[in-house]
């Protein structure tokens, strides 16, 4: 981010030219020059963060430089003014041939600099776990029932619970593959800062997958056809996608909504995955999310056992 500083050169002398060339060398400054009228107009339009005037008497003695700033953009204008202040201080010391009493000795440090993609990837993983669990389970079981596939399988000695279990294991494997793809893509394409323990990630992913599969089984218990599945599953997943902080941080949400969204299963899942993959959290560190997920698991498993039906009612 660069600050837009407008300079109005009324001196047109070597000092003012030196000031302008020094300013233009600062990386964080996007320098504009013009007349007082045009620069102030630009400031009022919001195109400048601050405007500094170099009066005609520049270089002939101590002088206060008139400066204007954009009060509507406090962050940018204070950055611009701070920059100008530092610049003016340095110039004053040089002008007075004095050594500054304090200087700053800045050392570069490699920090993590988390970006939006780092925030986004664990959220997208949580969302894909939700979609796979909800939609795959509900769609395929309603279809199996409608087409009579389940019935045909029940006519063999295979235990139906074995069939159920094999489907669940399949979906869990699919969830792992999805997680792996998303993380690898993030690392390769977006320089994802992934510092997490993969085992923790998989464990939390499994718990999340189990919750959404249980919801999927519940839906397939009472949805009559695939159209009904789509409607119900979307009704559940769509609000969660927007409320659970998958794409945006929850702090941007209205405060009355936050207590509700903090209790959604997708929120617990996304938060735990985010803590593990970005902060290197242990399972203990995300225990509150895990407790939330465990409660959801108990509730959804209970619902699934009550609602799931082997046959079309």
């Amino acid at each position: 981010m660069a600050v837009n500083i407008g300079v109005v050169d009324q001196a047109h002398n070597p000092v003012s030219q030196l000031v302008i060339s020094r300013l233009s060398q600062i990386k964080a400054v996007k320098l504009h020059t013009g007349t007082l009228g045009s620069e102030r107009a630009a400031l009022e339009r919001g195109d400048r963060d601050a405007v500094v005037v170099l009066p005609a008497t520049l270089g002939q003695g101590p002088l206060a430089l008139p400066a204007y700033y954009n009060s509507g953009k406090p962050q940018e204008s204070s950055a611009a003014l701070g920059l100008m202040n530092a610049f003016v201080d340095q110039a004053s010391f040089q002008y007075a041939h004095m050594q500054p009493a304090f200087t700053l000795n800045a050392q570069p440090v490699n920090s993590r600099n988390l970006s939006y993609i780092d925030f986004l990837v664990p959220g997208v993983i949580a969302m894909s776990i939700m979609q796979t669990g909800l939609f795959s389970v509900a769609f395929s079981f309603v279809a199996f029932k409608q087409q009579g596939i389940l019935r045909r399988l029940m006519a063999t000695p295979m235990k139906v619970s074995d069939f159920l279990l094999s489907r669940i294991v399949t979906y869990l494997m699919m969830s792992i593959v999805q997680m792996a793809i998303l993380i690898v893509l993030g690392l390769l394409l977006y320089h994802l800062h992934f510092v997490g323990n993969v085992v923790y990630l998989v464990i939390v992913g499994f718990v999340g997958a189990a919750i959404f599969m249980a919801i999927g089984f519940s839906i397939s218990g009472f949805a009559r056809d695939e159209g009904a599945v789509a409607a119900i599953a979307n009704l559940i997943s769509f609000p969660m996608m927007f409320l659970s902080g998958v794409f945006f941080t929850l702090s941007n949400e209205p405060s009355w909504l936050q207590p509700i969204t903090k209790l959604l299963p997708l929120t617990f899942l996304a938060d735990a995955l985010r803590g593990i993959s970005l902060n290197g959290d242990t399972l203990w560190a995300v225990r509150f999310d895990l407790v939330g997920l465990a409660i959801w698991l108990a509730v959804t498993l209970f619902l699934a056992m009550r609602l799931f039906r082997w046959e079309v009612v």
């Binding site: 009579g148 596939i149 019935r151 000695p157 295979m158």
Partner: protein, 268 residues
Amino acid sequence: MGIATRSEDLDLSRQTEGFAIQVEDLRKSYGNLVAVDGISFDVKDREIFGLLGPNGAGKTTTVEILEGLRQADGGRAIVAGINVLKEPQKVKGLIGVQLQASAFFDFLNLAELLEMFASFYGRQVDARALLRRVGLEEKANSRVKTLSGGQKQRFSISTALVNEPRVLFLDEPTTGLDPQARRNLWELAQSIREDGRTIVLTTHYMDEAETLCDRAAIMDRGKVIALDAPATLVQNLLAKGFRRRTAEREANLEDVFLDLTGATATWR
């Protein structure tokens, strides 16, 4: 006290005398609706036995009880030597089932599906040989959705044969098929019986029952109202003085259709 012999043991000993299925006083109700109202019948070994009757007569419920898919309310049913009411899971290994709505996973080809079904019985199967048996060998690598109606039914029967069942249940196997495909299926059913298996067939086609069945039970409102060889059932009707209003012609439209399009020479 004394030498009390439990009735089930008696039934099991009776089973060895050449009966594939024995049903006694079988009952099933759904709420107030009595679907099966105390029916009794026997099916002999290597018999093709027809179960006829209008929709809602209780055919499907009866068959589903015998297949171990539905729990009866009372009565007795011995299938392939197993008391179905007590051990519904055990009977499934000894019978083959072809259901009316026969869909299969569409991400597997026919050979793979047969191997999968065999695995449900803990068996290995020569999928190609089995497909050859039902005239679908060249379709081994195809998906079910690419099959014609008749081919689907024949494949469905092949899945019911993976465990070399003693009793095969066919539920309306020719509904919706063209005349040639129906005849193909009849030939298949007869050849399966010649392998030494017993077949229980439900159908709405009386010509099918007449052609295939050694004996047929006619059900109505949950009861068996007649049970005999089709020819005998017809004789009984004629003996009551029944006469068709119009004289039977020498041929009908189906004969014309088969004459023009070719009878049963090829599998379809």
